[in-house]
Assembly symmetry: C2
Homo-oligomer: 333 residues x 2
DNA sequence: CATTCTTATGTTAGCGCTATCATTTGTCAA
DNA sequence: TTGACAAATGATAGCGCTAACATAAGAATG
């Protein structure tokens, strides 16, 4: 392994100089030194120097690492702690040479992952069902380090998708396609903020268009039963011509449509919102959640908090970036 | 922060003694020393000692950390790099006080994540579409450290779910319920091993029962179209009474059933296999993939390889653990 | 050219831990 | 009791890096 000393010897300077050249952000004001600095950088590169993060950590007391804590309940769902969130996190943290370690938190236990306690993190990102439930985790919240909430709506230090906006966009898409009877389908009473927020976005868009919102819950305890519960609504004379569907409920909607003898999208349009697993593969018309960007936003916040730990950062509601047109939506002629 | 020295002073011994007591695995043969060791351990605990991993790393050259590398293509799917795999990995690695860092690999680029290059990992876990495609990644494969493949079938150093077994179990479940016309529904030609393996497991079970296997592909490019392609098969007089469905295709199967005027499970039974997102919520009858345990198995392998790096470890095909009975299966009366 | 000011470099020490070797302590046999 | 051997401890040094201070080398000024 190449060390600073090796480079220093090769360059004929002290290791401190090399350390400064490679790591301090101060610019060299005198041209001749800038040139020499450049030479050192080239040399380091040529020799394949990689800083020893452990040595740096022990010297500075900073570990250049963050922990991602995911509540077990969420970790068990496939969406949660999703690698797309993580990709966003990692991409941003990597820019700051911050490593991300992963831990799963058992919500109702008082233990914290031994490993992450040992690791002396400089900050943490939390993805948990409810902030309150973390009260148990004294070990974690008492850790006295910057904490950022991921996919959780709060006033400060949180990054989450703008569900109000997304639901509004989905609804307006239907409206612009000439639909008038547009219902919202899915469970909007979840304790997660997304439910109420989506409902709010939908209702506002409908009311703005002078239309009456209709929210249909699909909460039977299995997929077939949910479809059977939905089907009658689709047999009504004044049935909706478009459904705004939340999460995986779009699958139930399709079954219900088939039960009611309707075709998608000729007789019934579907526009989905949420963190959708197979939406692209299904060519579903949907407002794509900016999952990746929520991850990045959370990492942004964390970096900011690492710089000024006691300054609350305003939360970020990340707007959606794309609407996948798909094939499940058709304008009214 | 409490250091070894602090404990040493409190205990009236040298810091080396404390270090040995807390970290060496050698037992004390003389009773009086065992007692003293116990005292030191208690003291360390009472003082809240946490080893400084950075200091240890710099001293030993071992970093007690592993990297999880997920190919970008996979990371974009929701299943992939799934937190359930990761939970398994973390739970096992945590036992060895090994931290897991996360990186996403861009398959067709020659770059490796800067961060993980710097971090001096002691090993890595790779989840990649194909081993071959990693040829690009000289930086990664040339890293000269233990590597274990996750969710990838290979002869050595790999952990993956036993898809043959799972598909066989699903098929036998249908057979034991008295079904005779059992078709396999889904894409079994994927480049991922799971496709062919599942097909093999299904076909073997059918042939063993003296029945003719029937494999139906559902490869239209959107969900509704897939259902429409499946529906005619369900209208045949000799239609299957049970379907073994792969991955998300069960959703299409339900739509197709509704189109054909069949009820689930009264007229058509569904048994699913694969890494299923909402299977539990849908109360789907399915053979649950041992995702968590595959993660643990991979971590096991890695730990073994860290101890003897040049000894290939036989691959582990992790058998399923549970069959979720759900409500989509019904025996033939 | 001397003096001051600025900028860059070098020196030293230490972060917390463990490898290594030297030393002490205990145990058992003679 | 003594010597021989094992078991446990202690002293020292060093891992690679950076903080902090001391020093040297440029630039600016008269």
């Amino acid at each position: 392994m190449v060390t600073l000393k090796d480079i220093a010897e090769a360059a004929g300077v002290s290791s401190m100089t090399v350390s400064r050249v490679l790591n301090s952000k101060t610019e060299y004001s005198r041209p001749s030194f800038a040139v020499r600095a450049q030479k050192i950088r080239k040399l380091a590169d040529a020799m394949g120097y990689q800083p020893n993060v452990a040595a740096r950590a022990i010297s500075t007391g900073k570990f250049a690492s963050a922990g991602l804590f995911v509540a077990k309940k969420r970790a068990e769902g496939v969406n949660a702690g999703s690698s797309v969130f993580v990709r966003g996190l990692v991409s941003r943290l990597d820019e700051q040479s911050i490593a991300l370690s992963y831990a799963v938190v058992e919500v109702d236990q008082d233990s914290s992952p031994t490993l992450l306690r040992e690791r002396r993190l400089d900050g943490m990102i939390l993805e948990a069902e409810q902030t309150l439930s973390l009260g148990n985790h004294k070990a974690i919240l008492g850790a006295n380090m910057p904490v950022v909430l991921l996919n959780h709506r709060a006033e400060f230090d949180a990054a989450y998708p703008d569900e109000v906006l997304a639901a509004g966009a989905a609804t307006r898409l239907a409206l612009e396609g000439g639909h008038r009877r547009i219902a919202l389908l899915g469970n909007t009473d979840s304790d997660h903020f997304s439910g109420p927020d989506r409902r709010a976005g939908y209702e506002k868009a409908m009311l703005d268009a002078g239309l009456k919102p209709e929210v249909i819950h699909a909460d039977a305890n299995n997929a077939w039963a949910r479809a059977e519960a939905i089907a009658p609504l689709l047999r009504r004379a004044d049935r909706p011509t478009a459904l705004i569907v939340i999460e995986g409920v779009w699958q139930n909607a399709m079954v219900a449509a088939a039960m009611a003898g309707l075709r998608v999208p000729e007789d019934l349009s579907l526009v989905a919102i949420g963190q959708l697993a197979n939406a692209h593969d299904a060519q579903l018309t949907h407002v794509r959640m900016p999952t990746y960007w929520v991850g990045r936003a959370a990492a942004d916040l964390l970096v900011a908090k690492m710089i000024s730990p006691h300054e609350p950062q305003p939360a970020v509601a990340v707007p959606y970036r794309h609407v996948d047109r798909g094939v499940t939506f058709k304008p009214i002629p």
